[in-house]
């Protein structure tokens, strides 16, 4: 039988300051960059056009730029897309100055005819065209905002229903941390933010929250089970107990997201990259952010589970692997019996 991290006794909480430092090192520069340069929003949000073309042989972005310049289209972004003979030409509405409806579509046609002129009519094929007017762009921004807003509300309601507020607060702060690191990650890689990427971020909020909930559930269970240990030890014990599960689940999920990153094509890549990173940061935050934060919260506003939170270190008197207590009814025990 293979067992990873079975009966591990790592002192995770001890490393919390290092973890804070590491995460700050990721967030602060990334967030500063985000504030200065913003994100690379897709034309879905900004309005504009996107044309993906494939040429039989690689022609290079320079030739495409020359073709567009010749037609007087100067504000287009030209990118290689996945393969050396695939290109994406983007124009954003803000850049052209015109914000009237219908211009995006005209621009798409203009780009197409410029390419036909510069490359030769049969020398390329258009794979996809998107032309988004300013109104649809604004609507989609609104939709993305609504999605983010409502998922926060629902998550908060769910946590309030599920946990005592101290646990909930720690979980929310950890989730907030995940969002910050993900924004930093998106900024570092300059990934294109489309509605699907927003969807990925929201999904990962749910996913990272699960992870925290699973650890916190165990914490609650262990607090009842081991009456003589303080919170510090209970947290460490709970993280260690759930470690094999974390490794396994994140392993399987990451196997699928990595498969998507490498194999599912260029369109889905930003989405898959965000998901992959989200799994990583979600795991990290559940262990190194949520659990220590719970200690701080219990220290600041002591609740019934706050024993020893003030001490902030192991009491030393009690060994980590405490004698087996008679198994008490688990938190969700009675409910789950009904569910099976």
């Amino acid at each position: 039988m293979i067992r990873l991290f079975a009966n591990a006794k790592y002192d995770f909480i001890k490393w919390r300051r290092w973890a804070y430092g590491l995460t700050a090192l990721i967030i602060i520069p990334g967030f500063a960059l985000f504030l200065v340069r913003g994100l690379n929003y897709s034309i879905e949000f900004t309005g504009g056009t996107l044309i993906q073309v494939r040429t039989p042989t690689p022609v290079g972005t320079d030739r495409i730029r020359a073709a567009l310049d010749a037609a007087g289209i100067r504000d287009a972004e030209i990118q290689e897309f996945g393969a050396p003979n695939e290109y994406v030409v983007r124009t954003r509405l803000g850049a052209t100055g015109t914000r009237a409806e219908g211009t995006s579509e005209a621009t798409a046609a203009a780009v197409d005819s410029a390419l036909a002129h510069g490359l030769g009519a049969g020398q390329y094929s258009v794979g996809r065209t998107e032309a988004v007017g300013p109104k649809v762009g604004r609507e989609l921004q609104g939709k993305a905002f609504l999605a983010i807003f409502f998922s926060f509300i629902v998550t908060l309601i769910y946590l309030a229903f599920r946990f005592e507020w101290r646990f909930g607060l720690a979980a929310v702060l950890a989730t907030f941390h995940d969002i910050l690191t993900t924004i930093a990650f998106i900024r570092y890689l300059d990934l294109e933010v489309s509605l699907v990427v927003v969807g990925a971020v929201l999904t990962m909020v749910g996913y990272s929250l699960n992870d925290t909930i699973i650890i916190f559930d165990r914490v609650r269970e262990n607090l009842r089970k081991y009456r003589r240990q303080n919170l510090y030890e209970i947290l460490n014990l709970s993280i260690n107990e759930t470690l094999p599960r974390s490794v396994l689940t994140h392993g399987t999920t990451m196997a699928t997201t990595l498969a998507l990153v490498f194999l599912a094509g260029e369109v889905l890549r930003p989405f898959a990259l965000v998901m992959t990173f989200a799994i990583f940061t979600g795991t990290f935050s559940s262990i190194y952010i949520a659990a220590p934060l719970l200690m701080y919260v219990e220290k600041r506003w002591p609740g019934q589970d706050a024993r020893g939170a003030r001490a902030f270190r192991p009491t030393g008197a009690v060994p980590l692997d405490a004698p087996k207590a008679p198994s008490p009814p688990a938190a969700g025990g009675s409910r789950s019996k009904a569910a099976v």
Binding site: T129, V136, L209, D217, T252, T257, A264, A331, S336
Partner: protein, 550 residues
């Protein structure tokens, strides 16, 4: 109720049968371009009933709104309904299988053309200004009188009354088996004899059945392409009487289990056009309980209409929108001035409203502006599907490897449940008619990774219980019950986010949310219920099992 292995297996069996049933390829009506005539016709194809999004099958998605940049449009909601009506009458012109034309909100029109390759043409069809005209039908039956000459000309040109292939069979059915034979010898015979043979079914007249009113002919739906190609021939067009034009109807009517499309012979000169129309309203007369459409013409139009209708009392007047006769032409009962009314008899108010919309569409063309356009080439869509499937296979193989290597037999149980999971998820998509999009494909792959999470939670719990020295049977029971709250938690929070994404998102993102939600539901069933059942069977066969392969 589901405590015995037997009842559990029955439940799984039922789910399995339902899923397979949902995925059995069904007959779907598809409109395809007929290779011979270039027209669209209905055919049935068998396919797995999962809808593919435009990003996977390629096609054009257009969102249009009433253009208000050149001046405000008084009632945009009404204008967009008129535009929808107009685009619908042109649906045949799109060279695609199942065009979607739908009004979203109160001022937006969505047109989705799966498989269409030429965006410029599609946009042209949609944005063309609607043209409405009233024309008197062929009251003197000039067209019917010309039919023998047309048939003769066709016979001389070597066109046999029976078309080829499928058309031949149906004509034979209609007129008896000897029709086809009659036509053939006629071809070789000298011209004079043909004239006397005029009563014999000819190539064109055999396709036409006299309708209820002068100038109306019914053509069996499956013969429409044949009739159309015959009418398009130059030698036939030369013989159509001067002053008469042919226009197809927009409706298909069924009579005696066959469907017919109407063909109208109308005068080539409209008595009035949509320009003179100012308003049209549908009402239901409360006294007679009849649906009527009231219409108002301009002052100038009223004068013209008065003169024309005065000359055509008791004649039938075809209402033609974009060269398609709308409904059955009404009869002119008397002189009509600026205000007229069309009686629809006992027909539902809905039909009257539709006709009013047609009249207004011609009167007040709604200029449409394209606010969003997405075109995905069919090859890109195919590439996306292939890439997605490749990523899915690799992802699933990795998950299977991890599970089987790490949890051995129990892992194998989870993996076999995973195949059920994929089946259930696809069946869910098909059963509820959801659309599979590219992000949806990613959601499907991702949810395979998430699906095994429930099993991981259970197996880890079982391992812990075993470590605590519990018996195999107890450990399994406790493992399932104790892992349950964590499983419910993780699934509920993911499902909530996905649900919000579905409510708020647009097509592709909705596809992602849907596969995630269905995937979560399916994974709850397989990971908890199916795997538990496998365990029960396993433990029943080996009651004395001391160690568990987990």
């Amino acid at each position: 109720m589901l405590y015995t292995v037997r009842s559990r297996l029955i439940a799984i069996g039922i789910l399995l049968v339902l899923s397979v049933w949902a995925l059995i390829p069904t007959n779907a009506t598809q409109r395809v371009r007929d290779a011979a005539t270039g027209r669209m016709k209905d055919t049935t194809v068998r396919r797995v009933p999962i809808n593919l999004g435009l990003d996977l099958q390629g096609g054009i998605h257009l969102a249009l709104e009433v253009d208000q940049s050149k001046g405000p449009v008084p009632d945009p909601a009404d204008a967009i309904r008129r535009a929808e009506r107009v685009v619908r009458t042109r649906i045949d012109e799109f060279g695609v299988t199942e065009p979607v034309v739908q009004v979203v909100g109160n001022n937006r029109l969505i047109v989705e053309l799966a498989g269409e390759k030429d965006p410029a043409r599609a946009k042209g069809v949609i944005q063309r200004t609607a043209f409405l005209e009233f024309r008197i039908t062929d009251m003197k039956n000039l067209f019917r009188d010309a039919l023998p000459d047309v048939d003769k000309a066709l016979r001389q040109a070597g066109v046999k009354p029976a078309g080829e292939g499928a058309a031949a069979a149906s004509v034979t059915q209609l007129f008896g088996a000897d029709t086809a034979r009659k036509g053939k010898p006629a071809k070789g015979k000298p011209a004079p004899k043909d004239t006397s043979d005029a009563n014999a079914p000819g190539a064109l007249s055999s396709l036409l059945f006299q309708g209820q009113l002068p100038g109306e002919y019914l053509v069996p739906e499956e013969q429409v392409p044949v009739a159309e190609s015959l009418l398009a021939r130059p030698d036939v067009r030369r013989l159509i009487p001067r002053g008469i034009e042919l226009r197809w109807g927009n409706e298909v009517s069924s009579r005696a289990a066959r469907s017919y499309r109407a063909l109208y012979a109308v005068e080539d000169r409209p008595i009035i056009t949509g320009e003179e129309l100012q308003d049209a309203r549908a009402t239901r007369d409360p006294l007679t309980n009849q649906s009527v459409v009231n219409f108002t013409l301009s002052r100038r139009g009223g004068r013209i209409f008065e003169r024309e209708t005065g000359r055509h009392v008791q004649d039938y007047m075809a209402i033609i929108l974009d060269s398609r006769v709308q409904g059955q032409p009404p009869v002119i009962k008397g002189q009509i001035g600026q205000h007229g009314l069309i009686e629809l008899g006992a027909k539902p108010l809905q039909e009257a409203q539709d006709l009013a919309l047609v009249l207004k569409a011609g009167a007040l063309p709604a200029p449409l502006t394209i606010i969003e356009e997405r075109t995905i080439g069919p090859s890109l869509g195919k590439d996306s599907i292939n890439d997605g499937i490749r990523a899915g296979i690799v992802g699933v193989v990795l998950v299977v490897l991890i599970m089987v290597v790490y949890y051995r037999w129990s892992g194998a149980l989870a993996v076999s449940a995973l195949t059920l999971y994929v089946l259930f998820t696809l069946a869910g998509l098909a059963a509820f008619g959801f659309t599979l999009t590219l992000p949806g494909l990613a959601g499907l792959v991702l949810s395979v990774g998430i699906a095994v999470d429930a099993n991981v939670l259970i197996f880890e719990r079982i391992r812990e219980e075993l470590q605590h020295g519990k018996l195999v049977r107890t450990a399994v029971d406790e493992g399932f019950t104790h892992a349950m709250s964590a499983i419910i938690d993780s699934n509920v929070s993911t499902a909530l986010t996905a649900f919000i994404l579905y409510l708020v998102g647009t097509g592709p993102v909705q596809g992602f949310a849907i596969t995630l939600i269905i995937g979560i539901a399916a994974s709850m069933v397989t990971a908890i219920f199916v795997v538990r059942t496998f365990y029960m069977i396993w433990l029943q066969r080996r009651p004395d099992m001391a160690t568990l392969s987990v």
